[in-house]
Symmetry: D2
Amino acid sequence: MVRNFSTTENSTVHTVADLRPERLAVVTKSYPNINVTTDIDSIWSNAEIDAVIIATPVFTHFELAKKALNAGKHVLLEKPMTDTVEHANELIELAAKNGKVLMVDHTFLYTSAVQKIKQLIDSGDIGQVKYFDSTRINLGLIQQDVNVLWDLAPHDISILDYLIPAKPKSVQATGVSHIHNGIENIAYLTVNYEHDFMAHFHCSWSSPLKMRMMLIGGDKKMIVFNDMEPTEKIRLYDTGHSISTDEEKRRVLVDYRIGDVFIPKLDLREALGGMAKDFISAMTKGTTPIANWESGLNTIKILEAAQISIKEKGRQVEIA
Amino acid sequence: MVRNFSTTENSTVHTVADLRPERLAVVTKSYPNINVTTDIDSIWSNAEIDAVIIATPVFTHFELAKKALNAGKHVLLEKPMTDTVEHANELIELAAKNGKVLMVDHTFLYTSAVQKIKQLIDSGDIGQVKYFDSTRINLGLIQQDVNVLWDLAPHDISILDYLIPAKPKSVQATGVSHIHNGIENIAYLTVNYEHDFMAHFHCSWSSPLKMRMMLIGGDKKMIVFNDMEPTEKIRLYDTGHSISTDEEKRRVLVDYRIGDVFIPKLDLREALGGMAKDFISAMTKGTTPIANWESGLNTIKILEAAQISIKEKGRQVEIA
Amino acid sequence: MVRNFSTTENSTVHTVADLRPERLAVVTKSYPNINVTTDIDSIWSNAEIDAVIIATPVFTHFELAKKALNAGKHVLLEKPMTDTVEHANELIELAAKNGKVLMVDHTFLYTSAVQKIKQLIDSGDIGQVKYFDSTRINLGLIQQDVNVLWDLAPHDISILDYLIPAKPKSVQATGVSHIHNGIENIAYLTVNYEHDFMAHFHCSWSSPLKMRMMLIGGDKKMIVFNDMEPTEKIRLYDTGHSISTDEEKRRVLVDYRIGDVFIPKLDLREALGGMAKDFISAMTKGTTPIANWESGLNTIKILEAAQISIKEKGRQVEIA
Amino acid sequence: MVRNFSTTENSTVHTVADLRPERLAVVTKSYPNINVTTDIDSIWSNAEIDAVIIATPVFTHFELAKKALNAGKHVLLEKPMTDTVEHANELIELAAKNGKVLMVDHTFLYTSAVQKIKQLIDSGDIGQVKYFDSTRINLGLIQQDVNVLWDLAPHDISILDYLIPAKPKSVQATGVSHIHNGIENIAYLTVNYEHDFMAHFHCSWSSPLKMRMMLIGGDKKMIVFNDMEPTEKIRLYDTGHSISTDEEKRRVLVDYRIGDVFIPKLDLREALGGMAKDFISAMTKGTTPIANWESGLNTIKILEAAQISIKEKGRQVEIA
C-alpha cells in the first residue's frame, strides 16, 4: 500500500500509524520522509490528511472507518469491508452524508485476468452466464476471528459481483472446524439467483494442493480462470450446447459443441497500482471506483448470510 | 462385461438379453458361441444360468433383480444399485433369504489407485482422516431419469464408503437444472459424520474442464487422487499440522509441516476384471466381495437423502 | 493393420503370413475367414492377392518388397522403408517399372494433429518456417539391429518432410550406446537446409519422462505440438519478432510480439484408417498417397547420413 | 548484488561504479549511504575497498578483473567468467600469485534444487550417471556480442561441472543465426566424456515455450529437474534397467524397472545470498567457494570449444 500510493499520481503518503513500533521502524527505513505514529487518533485531526487506508483486523474496521469519515476523510478499507451488513450500511450512509469516497480493497477486480473476463462476458461472447464455480484452497493460517469464508471468499464473491449484474436471492453454506473453536477451516457456499443461475464457492485452509480456479459457464462459451498459471490464466472454451430429446435412450440430449480453446494474452499491469489510481481518481475527480462500497456491501451480505446458514445446518438464508 | 466375464476363471457367458436386436447382433459377431435373446424372461427359467448381470436403466433394476433372485440367480447390478433405499433393502433381504450373492458394480473400488489409497489409510500413514473432497465434472450427457448426483456421485460415494469406516449422519445438497426439467446437471453435496469429519462432492455435466479429483486430508499426511493423470494418479503429501496460539496476532496457529511428495507406482490391473473375479469368487467360494450390497446400499442412502435435501432447499436430511 | 484393412472400403484381407504359428492362431481366433500361412512365398504366386503389407524387421524389407513387386503386387512397408538408400531406390525403380504403388506406413502423417499443422503452415499463417525441434523420448526397448534414430526418428523426419517443401543439405549426429553394442540408445540429430532453416531431433530410449514434442517456429507465429496431451495437442502462439538495433545496449533487438495462444479442436479420426484408405485409393484410383515412396526415401536419406555422421564423430555429412 | 551484499555478514557495499549516471541515481535513491562513481579507475586505488564485483559485458571482464587483481582486490565475475580460456587462465594465475579470491557468479549452484541433486548423486542413490540432457529455451533478447550458448549454457554447464567429477574430452555443436550476424540464436551442444557418459545442451532464444529442464540418468535412478515448476522442481524416478537378450525378437532386452516417483521438499533459500556469503567466506576465512575459478574455467573451456565446433560444421573439438 505504502509503495503503491507513493508512486500513484496526485498521491502522497503522509503518515503510517501502527500500534507496533517495530513495524513503523520498517517503514521509516525504506521511506524516511513518511511520518509514523502509534497514536491513531492523531490522524483524524490532521488537516493535511485527505484520506485513510484501513488495513487492520476486520472487527476494527467499523470503528476506525466511522472516525475517519466523521473527521472528513475519504476511506479505503481492506476486504472484507466490515464484520456485519449493519456496520457496512452505517458507513455507507455516513460517507454519502459527508460526500466522501468509501471504497474496499478488492484488488482482484483490478487484475488483467478479471478485466479480461469482464470484457468477455460484457461482449456477449459467452452468452448468458449459467453457473459460476470457484475453488480457492491451500494450506493457510487458521485465523481466530473469522472463518475461511470471511478470509478467502471475499476475493471470489467480489469478482462474481463485479462480473454478473444479477443479484443473489439466498445462500446455503456448510463447513467444518477441525480445531473445535467454531472457526470453519473448510467451507462450501452455494449462492442462488433468479432464473437458473447458481454460484458455488469452495474455500479451504487445509488443502495440500493450492488451487485458485473459477469455472464460468455461458450457454455459448465457457471460461476457466486458473490463477495458479503464471501467464495462461484464462481459457475460453468454444463449448456450448443445444437441447434435444432422444426417445429411444430416454434422454434429453444436450448436444455439446466442443471446439477450440483460446488463451488471451494478459497485460502485466499490477493490480494494486490500478486500485490506488482508482481511489485517487474517485477522490479527485468524483469517478465511481470499480471496488466501490456497493461491491463491499454485496460481498458482506453474502458472507453474513453464509455465516447464519453454516450455523443453522445449511438452512437456505435469504439475502436481504 | 461380456469380455471380462468371458475371460474370468470359472465363468462362462451363457446368454445376452437385450430388447434391441441390433445390439445382440454386435455380440454375435464377436462372440458367436454366446446365446442372445430379446426375451428377458427366458433367462429366469434357464437352469444353466447361475447368475445375471443387470446393466439397464436404474429404474428397472429393482424389478429385474427381484425376478432374478426369486429365480435363484446370483445378481450383479450396475451402479447405482436401485432407485430407492426401500428397493435396495427388499433386494438385500431377498438375497439373504435365498442365499444368493447380491453385488453392485462399483468398478472404481477395484482400481489400483483406490486399492493403494485404502492401503495408505489402513496403514495409519495419513493419520486420522479429517475431510474428503471430490470433484467429478466434465461435459456429459444430461440424462432424463436421474440427476447428475445419481449418475456420477456413486463412484465417489462408494469409494468414500470403502475407504472410511465411519457412517454418515446427514447430508445437505444444492443444485441447478439448466434444462428446467427438474434434473439437476450441476450439484453439490455435503455429507456430515460424527466428530469433525466431513465429505463434499461436486458433480457436473456442464464443465468444459474434465476433472476427477479427490482430496483426502489426514492429520498426518494428505492424499490427492487425480484420475485424469495417466499414471501419476496418487500423490501422498507429507503435510500435516500442529496447533498452537499466537496471542499477539490473535491467531490460532496451525503450524503446517510441508514436506516431500511421494507418487507411488500403481499396478496396471484392469478394474473390471477384478470385479468379475470378485463376483465369481463370492458365488463359488462364499467370499464377501468388495463391492457388496452394503456398499450399494450405503451409496443409495446418501443419494436418496441428497435428493430430498436438494428439493427442500438444502435442508439437512438425516441418514436413516 | 488387419482390423483397419478389414473395415476399409474396397479392401479385403486375404491372407496373413507369419513364421510364428502362435501369432497366426491369434488372427484366426478373431478373423476366422482370413487365411493364414507360414509360407511367405505362397503369397507371391497367389493371383487373388493384389497388395502386400510388410510389417517385419527393417533388414528384411528390401528382399520381401522386391519379391512382392516382382510378383506384381502393390506394397505397403512399415517405417522405416528400408535399411539403406540404395535399397529404397531399387524398390522405387521396380515399383515405377511395374506400375505398382509403393507406400510407407508413416502413420503420423494421417493424424488430425499433423493435418492441422500442415494446414496452418500452408495457409501462410505462421509465416516462413525458421526452425523445427523435435523431442521423442521415453523408456523404450533397446533394439538389437537399429539404433534409437532408426526406431523413433522416422516419425518426426517424415512429419518434417511432409510439412516443409525444403530439401535437407546435410546432417550432423551424435549419440551414445550404454550397452556397448554400438546401438545408440540416445541420439541427437541436426539437419541443415538452405537459407537459415534448421531442424533438430532428440531421440532416447532412456528417459524416465515420456515426451513427444515438436516446436515449429515461423517468423509470424509458432506451433507447439505436444503429442502427450490427450486432446490439446497443438498450440498456436501468436508470437513473432521484428529486428532492430539498440546501440546503447549493444544489442540487436529482436522485438518479440507475445500474443494470444490458440488451441484448435482436432478431429478424432483414427490415423491408421486414413492410411489404409489412402493406400487403397492409390491402388484403385491412381492417387498419390500422402505417405508415398518419396516420403519414405527422404526419411531414409537422413537416417543413413545420420548413421555415418554418428560413427564419424559428428562430421557434417551431405545428403545426396 | 547490492541488496544481497548489503545484507551479508561481514560485508559492506562501499561504492557502485557505472558509466551511466541514471543507473547510479537509482542506487542512490534506495541506498543513500553507498558511494557512486562513473570513474571506474577510482575503485582500484581506494584502499577501503577489498573486493570488486564485475557485472559488465563479457568482453570487458578480462581487463577489469586484471586491474582489480593487480590492485590487490578479490574479484567476483559475472558468468561467463571471460571471453576466452586464455584470459581465464591469466586471471587465475594472477589471483594465485596475489593470493586473492577469484570467483564466478554461477548462482544456480547455490539453489536448493542443485544442492539437492548434488546430494542425491553423491549419496550414490542414482548410481552411475550415464547421461545429462539440458533444455533452456524461451523467447529472449538476441545479444550482439555472444551467441545463445555463451548467454544461457553457462548455467547448465556449470551445474554439470559441479555435479559430475568426470572431465569432458570433446564437444560437437551446431546452431543457426536467424538474423544473419553470425550470432546463433538456437544452438545444440554435445559434450563427450570418458566411458559412456554424454551430456547435451539445447539453448534457444526463439522458443514460444519456456523450458528449463534437465534429465540426469543414473543406472539406478533418474532425476528430472524442471526449474519452471514453482516448488516441485525435482523428481526422483525409481527407474533403472538391467540388460538381457531375447533371442526370438532379436533384441537386447533392457528390463526397465519403473517405480515410484519422489518429489523432495526444497528449502526456500535465496541463491544469490548464498553466493554472496560464500564469496565473503572465501575472502575472510580462506574457504574454497562452490563457484570457484575452476568452475568458471571449465565452463569457458566447453564454450570456447563449442564456438569452434559450431563454426567448423559440427566438427568434434577436443577440450584441452
